[in-house]
């Protein structure tokens, strides 16, 4: 599978499988460390997304937008996509590729 999230010059972060409460603090640290460069997130391994990690992601997106930088979630698992839709921010994965997108691509 080609890494579709690869953008030249961008930082790429792979999000942990479980983005529950305990993951919020490390996630924030990771994101803060990446600030300043275009950021592409890979959420394809995420199985759980909690409200607190969602907060961190939304704040990060706002920060990047304020900086004028590129920030996006490039790939997302179905679980991740479901969770953000459920929590009322489907736009977070609007550009992301989900497993269902891969099938026709591989054909």
């Amino acid at each position: 599978m080609t890494d579709l999230s690869q953008t030249p010059g961008a930082t790429s972060l792979i999000l942990a499988e479980s983005l529950d409460m305990t993951a919020a603090s490390p996630l924030k640290a990771q994101l803060l460390a990446a600030r300043g460069s275009a950021l592409s997130l890979d959420a394809s391994a995420v199985r759980r997304l909690g409200g607190q990690c969602l907060q961190v992601l939304l704040a990060a997106r706002a920060a990047w937008t304020a900086d004028g930088g590129d920030w996006r979630i490039a790939t997302a698992s179905e679980e991740f996509a479901d969770a953000v839709r459920l929590m009322g921010c489907p736009d977070l994965v609007a550009d992301a590729l989900t497993p269902s997108d891969f099938a026709p691509l591989q054909d």
């Binding site: 409460m21 603090s25 909690g50 939304l58 704040a59 920060a63 459920l86 929590m87 009322g88």
Partner: protein
């Protein structure tokens, strides 16, 4: 009433409300108040009537409503000014619309010519002069499309708007917003709007704090309880606002639309399914169904009377269901009213007594006036009680979720069967039933049901059944929680009770007595405290909460077949029809619902069984004769049966006994004053009351007295329980 007829009836009731709304709107417009809000309200009223009429294929009504609506739409869009003449036409059109509604309701004829004339006038108002082809199309929509959210009428809720903001504690306790939102999604169609306005900068963000809030627009027939239940376990860990969405236009739209009174004209989004509507209307109509009540039960009997159409109804075209079918009243006000009525009853009784003491003749004007007053007082009381009577459904419907959760925790497949949800009982009783019921159902699944493997080994289906039923029986409500599990393990119960020092190790106890040990304080069969039932709350607490309601709880268990807990509760906590009797100089009250007949025992009919035990021959059977004075300890030598009066009573399980009292003073409605609340529980006494002369009389707990006199052991057990409890 059959469901469809009930829905139709509801539709017409709602039509009346819409017509009232329409008229008041038009009158406001006539008075010069033609703001968009008023015009919208008027449009909405006509639109709702049209929508509902479409669902019932009331073609003439739909056609006229459509023409009417078209004119109003012109006005709404600003193409038609609300001049005096226009409003006058609209007002007349409103009258024609009302005629149509009435005609559709009772089958009376309508003035076709007048309708046509008005329709022409209305069409003349609009620039396009009304479009019949659109009318056809529109009509089709209402016949075959699911009814629009706007159609059913304003007072019904189309759903709920839930604003939910977790606090940090919610996450800290391992709860997740996503799960709650998903759970909400199970109740119906949801639209989730995220509010991230509280979100700080990434750098300032505390990863463990909570900043997000959600507003969920839930459409569907879920009731408020169901919505709140989703948040049951995060109570206090989040801010929660649940408010109904009134079924008018735009309700099903996105939250952003909510502020705008914009009405979708034909096919609004988020249509309500007709099935959903049907269920809702049925639910709304349910309390009107006459509850199954024995005569003599004060509260629901009155409810039944209220539910019957009043005699003025059905007198042809003039009948008009009252507008504003329901109002919400603060419970405190109702309670205050009930208290006052209680005082009124006591006062009325006192007054009667004074009048009698003053020596007025029965036929005197004063005495007759008092009789009428008594009648009125009773009617007031019944009516007031009926306000508080509610179906137990509100408690019962919380249980399926509990069962699912406990089943998941214990790994036991369980099916909950409920019956008699429509049984009505006083609201206070309902409210205070939730905790004991929850506990008993948890117990039934955790302790009552065996594991699926054990069940299969015993030749039973792997899925256990817990049955929750409610019914009215002899003026009380009887609620049963039954499981089809293994029944009480009596050996184990006995050994545990002995271990805990509740009974002597060598005590000889009957099966029934062993079963009742589980109600003793300090008894818990689970050797390890489990998450589900072992929360430090034993069956003794359940028993005490039931007793505090003036109820009793009994257990019946059959090895291998399961256990049944039976709770018997008074329908209301406020009044009782009683037989006032005297025993050894004391005035006592026996609940009339339990009394089958009264008789004067003849010497030949009473037989001694040795000791103080006696039976009385009543027709062709022998019935235990219980001396109330002995049972309550007023005297030590039994009363000569021929000197007293026997009250033949029927207890909880249908068992009969004759209670021997000294004399009957009369029959009276008494206001119940709790003995537990003011003193403490006394075995054999259910409550107290204040008599007309100001004295306190005790109200007999018939079943306990019968049980007590059956076996001295159970008496001691009762007393022990009461003493420790």
């Amino acid at each position: 009433m059959d469901p469809l007829a009930a829905i139709r009836e509801t539709f017409f009731q709602e039509c009346e409300e819409q017509l009232a709304e329409l008229e008041s709107g038009l009158l406001a417009m006539e008075a010069g108040d033609a703001d968009s809000e008023t015009i919208n309200a008027v449009f909405r009223a006509v639109h709702s009537i049209k929508g509902g009429a479409g669902a019932f294929s009331l073609e003439a009504l739909v056609r006229f409503a459509h023409v009417f609506e078209t004119s109003l739409d012109e006005m709404r869009s600003g193409r038609l000014a609300s001049s005096d003449g226009v409003v006058k036409t609209l007002l007349r059109a409103a009258d024609v619309l009302a005629d149509h509604v009435r005609a559709a309701h009772d089958g009376s004829s309508i003035d076709e010519a007048h309708t046509a004339e008005l329709a022409e006038e209305l069409k003349a108002l609009g620039p396009e002069g009304g479009d019949t082809s659109e009318s056809e199309e529109d009509w089709g929509d209402f016949s075959f499309q699911p009814l629009s959210a706007a159609a059913p009428a304003a007072p019904a809720t189309a759903g709920w708007r839930v604003r939910f903001k977790p606090r940090a504690d919610l996450y800290a306790k391992a709860n997740e917003a996503a799960l709650l939102l998903r759970e909400l999604g199970r109740l119906g169609e949801t639209e989730v709007a995220l509010d991230d306005s509280g979100l700080p900068d990434l750098a300032d963000l505390d990863p463990e704090a909570a900043y997000l809030a959600w507003t969920v627009t839930l459409t569907g027939d879920a009731d408020e309880t169901a919505v709140r239940e989703v948040f049951e376990f995060v109570d206090g860990d989040c801010e929660l606002e649940v408010e109904p969405i009134v079924a008018d236009g735009g309700s099903a739209g996105a939250p952003a639309d909510l502020g705008e009174p914009e009405i979708p004209t034909t096919e609004p989004d988020g249509n309500l399914d007709i099935g959903v509507l049907l269920a809702r209307v049925q639910a709304a109509a349910a309390p009107q169904a006459p509850p199954e009540v024995p005569s003599g039960a004060p509260a629901p009997a009155a409810a039944a009377t209220l539910a019957e159409p009043s005699p003025q109804d059905g007198q042809g075209p003039s009948r008009k269901p009252e507008a504003g079918a329901t109002i919400r009243v603060d419970l405190e006000r109702v309670d205050r009213l009930i208290d006052l009525v209680g005082e009124l009853v006591i006062n009325q009784a006192m007054l009667s007594q004074r009048v009698m003491e003053a020596g007025f003749a029965r036929a005197s004007g004063v005495a007759m006036g008092l009789d009428e007053l008594e009648q009125l007082t009773r009617e007031i009381q019944d009516s007031v009680m009926a306000i508080r009577a509610q179906p137990v459904k509100s408690v019962f419907q919380r249980m399926p979720r509990l069962v699912r959760e406990v089943a998941a925790m214990t790994g036991k497949p369980v099916r909950l069967v409920t019956e008699g949800e429509g049984t009505e009982v006083d609201k206070t009783v309902i409210e205070r039933l939730a905790d004991p019921l929850t506990h008993m159902i948890r117990n039934a699944i955790d302790h009552g049901l065996e594991s699926p493997e054990k069940r299969e080994a015993a030749g039973k289906p792997a899925e256990g059944v817990v049955r929750l039923t409610a019914a009215h029986r002899s003026g009380r409500i009887v609620i049963e929680v039954a499981d089809d599990g293994g029944g009480i393990n009596r050996e184990r119960v006995k050994s545990i009770a002995a271990e805990r020092g509740l009974i002597a190790a060598d005590a000889a106890l009957s099966d029934e007595e062993i079963d009742n040990l589980i109600f003793m304080p300090g008894f818990s069969t689970a050797s390890t405290v489990s998450d589900i039932s072992g929360r430090g709350v034993g069956m003794d607490v359940v028993k005490r909460s039931i007793q505090a309601l003036g109820g009793r709880i009994a257990i019946a268990s059959r090895p291998g077949k399961g256990s049944t807990f039976t709770m018997s509760l008074p329908l209301t906590l406020a009044v009782l029809d009683g037989m006032v009797v005297s025993v050894q100089g004391q005035t006592l009250v026996a609940p009339i619902t339990a009394i089958v007949e009264t008789l004067l025992p003849k010497a030949g009919d009473v037989h001694s069984l040795g000791g103080h035990a006696r039976v009385i021959a009543i027709r062709d059977s022998y019935t235990p004769l219980i001396d109330v004075g002995m049972a309550l300890g007023y005297r030590t030598t039994p009363l000569d049966a021929t000197q007293g009066v026997a009250l033949l009573i029927e207890g909880e399980g249908g068992a009969r006994a004759a209670l021997l009292v000294d004399a009957i003073q009369g029959q009276r409605q008494v206001v119940i004053k709790s003995l537990e609340a003011n003193y403490r529980q006394v075995p054999g006494v259910a409550a107290a009351t204040i008599l007309g002369d100001g004295r306190v009389a005790l109200i007999l707990d018939i079943d306990t007295i019968v049980a007590v006199s059956r076996g001295a052991d159970s008496l001691r057990a009762e007393k022990r329980l009461a003493a420790t409890g």
